[in-house]
């Protein structure tokens, strides 16, 4: 009842949006597609929701083939596109009622499923969807995608443009939905959200770089990472990039994530080098790799 994708390719004229993508989402799994803008996430979603036909390959959603049984898929999946796409001139309640009717159900019938989410926007149910804030729009869109009790839920960048508090709430809601037996495929460009998924696929330029649980992906990071900081961030990055033994240098918040080519790397050598570059307050400390580091390493 999950999702299987095998060798899916799709190109728009000369642009190869997806190249031989294969993966599997187990039933009742919260699976994340992590990748930057333009990686092919939306294309993949559109193929799986039967909106787009792939050039090659097969895929099934909830046990139905995306080509042969597309009608069944449309009955059993919920889709929340990246762009808010409900009727802006209908109110919250009207939108929900509209989608319930199209799916041949009523709000009351599946109210249990959306209750947690809907109660938060219910006080504004007579307000038009176009007049809602970003977080409220997103809750409404999720309610509409859930109103027919789908088996599989597709969420295309649901938290893009949403404030940090609402983002956190949103992921809590997803976890609760997962407990109700819904398979969820979610895409996001935010690496910090990746850690909240059961498994993730790192995707770039239409190709999957790695598929595993977030913990394993981080564990497999091949190098030791050092947080480096100094009094002048800009000069620090330039100096590190100019250092002959550097493997990777990425700014990461108030630190720079640094890895070295050598296996017998001694932070003291680096400190000496940086001091020679007229930097002061130098701190070099070991740190844990994050999904972002893994992604950067794989995308290299």
């Amino acid at each position: 009842m999950g999702i299987t994708v095998s060798n899916i390719s799709k190109s728009y004229k000369d642009v190869k949006a997806l190249q031989k993508i294969s993966f599997e989402v187990k039933p009742n799994e919260l699976f994340g597609l992590i990748g930057p803008d333009g990686a092919g996430k939306t294309t993949l979603f559109r193929i799986l929701t039967t909106l787009l036909i792939a050039n090659e390959g097969h895929a099934t959603v909830a046990g139905f083939d995306v080509l042969d049984d597309f009608k069944e898929i449309r009955k059993h999946v919920g889709y929340m596109p990246g762009k808010f796409s409900l009727y802006q001139d209908l109110t919250i309640e009207e939108n929900l009622e509209f989608f319930a009717t199209i799916f041949g159900t009523t709000i009351e019938e599946n109210y249990e499923l959306i209750k947690d989410i809907y109660v938060q926007i219910e006080p504004f149910k007579d307000r038009r969807a176009g007049k809602l804030s970003g977080g409220m729009k997103q809750k409404l869109a999720l309610s509409c995608a859930l109103i027919h009790k789908p088996k599989v839920l597709f969420l295309d960048e649901p938290t893009t443009g949403v404030d940090p508090v609402s983002r956190k709430e949103f992921w809590e809601m997803l976890k609760r939905l997962q407990q109700k037996g819904i398979t969820i495929l979610v895409s996001t460009p935010y690496m910090d959200e990746a850690a909240l998924c059961d498994r993730i696929a790192l995707i770039q330029d239409g190709e999957i770089l790695q598929i595993d649980s977030p913990e394993n992906i981080v564990k497999q990071y091949p190098k030791t990472i050092y947080d480096v900081s100094a009094n002048n961030m800009y000069q620090l990055i330039n100096s590190l990039k100019a250092y002959q033994h550097q493997h990777s240098v990425y700014p990461f918040g108030e630190f720079v994530h640094y890895t070295d080519k050598r296996t017998d790397f001694n932070p003291k050598d680096l400190k000496q080098y940086l001091e020679a570059q007229q930097l002061s307050n130098i701190r070099i400390e070991k740190t844990q790799a994050t999904i972002e580091d893994s992604f950067m390493e794989l995308a290299k």
Partner: protein, 353 residues
Amino acid sequence: MLPIIFVLPLLQLVILSNAATFEVKNIKFAYIDHDHSSSSRALIEKFEASTYFNVLTDFPSETQASSAMLKGEVDVVLEIPSHFERNLQKEKNANLGITINAIDGAAAGVENVYVSQIIQSYNKHIKTDLMQRLDAQIQPVNIASIPLFWYNETLNYKTYMVPGILVLLVTMITLFLSGMNIVREKEIGTLEQINVTPIKKSQFIIGKLFPFWVIGMGLLTIGLILARLIFDVPMIGSLFLMYFYTSIYILVILGMGLFISNFTDTQQQAMFIAWFFTVIFILMSGLFTPIESMPEWAQTLTEFNPIKYFVEVMRMVMLKGSGLMDILPQLIKTLVYALIMNGLAVWSYKKAS
């Protein structure tokens, strides 16, 4: 939006029906009288008496008259040659020079007819005058035609224009609304959400059609009321028949609009295509220019013009009181057209790409 949909077209109906006239009135008339005789003055008096002509002035010379026409100050110049009266009496024959500004060919044609009519009636007078003097025994044999204008006895152009303009408004509004509609949903992205639902293509199209169909019928109703109250257009035929035909006709236009909407990606594209078709349909509908005077190929093309049938039916039913059997050919063609266009609309709406 709803007030705009209703108020603006009805304003158009009122303005256009009053303004779009084929009658030529207030013709600026001038003359050059080289003769200065009682006959020439009598002729000019005839023009002064006519309601169509505003006799402006007399010019002493032809050059001044032609420069005035160049400036657009006069439309028609009548030149009476010297010895006009003498020639008329002696030779029973005289020539007059008429110059008409023909930039607007249709108006010039009408002006020519008016001028000829006045000169003819003047001629008749002269003839009887001369004959009495010369030979009272011979009775003139004259054939005169007395036209009767059926279905619009007073040749009131409003009676003729109002049904036509009403047709235009109903057509344009419904075509533009439906043409913009699906493509607008494509633009805002709501169509994507709809496409992943199990809704059937035909259900979707019918859902799109119905509100515009109601608006179209509402527009017709208000238009007819205005036609009756303001323009006093006769409505001889059955109102029910008019509504029955319109209900099918609007389906053609809506099907067409949705078909356009399915094939375009932006509202601009849809707008442009809808505009392209309306202009062709309107100008080839027989509303402003008679279809009979078009070239053969254009006449064949008008067979595919739904507006043509609507204009015909409206005029037939409203002015002539035609019944169901009279409009049956138009009705059947429109029905077939409606089935084809809506079939195409459903077919061209693709949920997946």
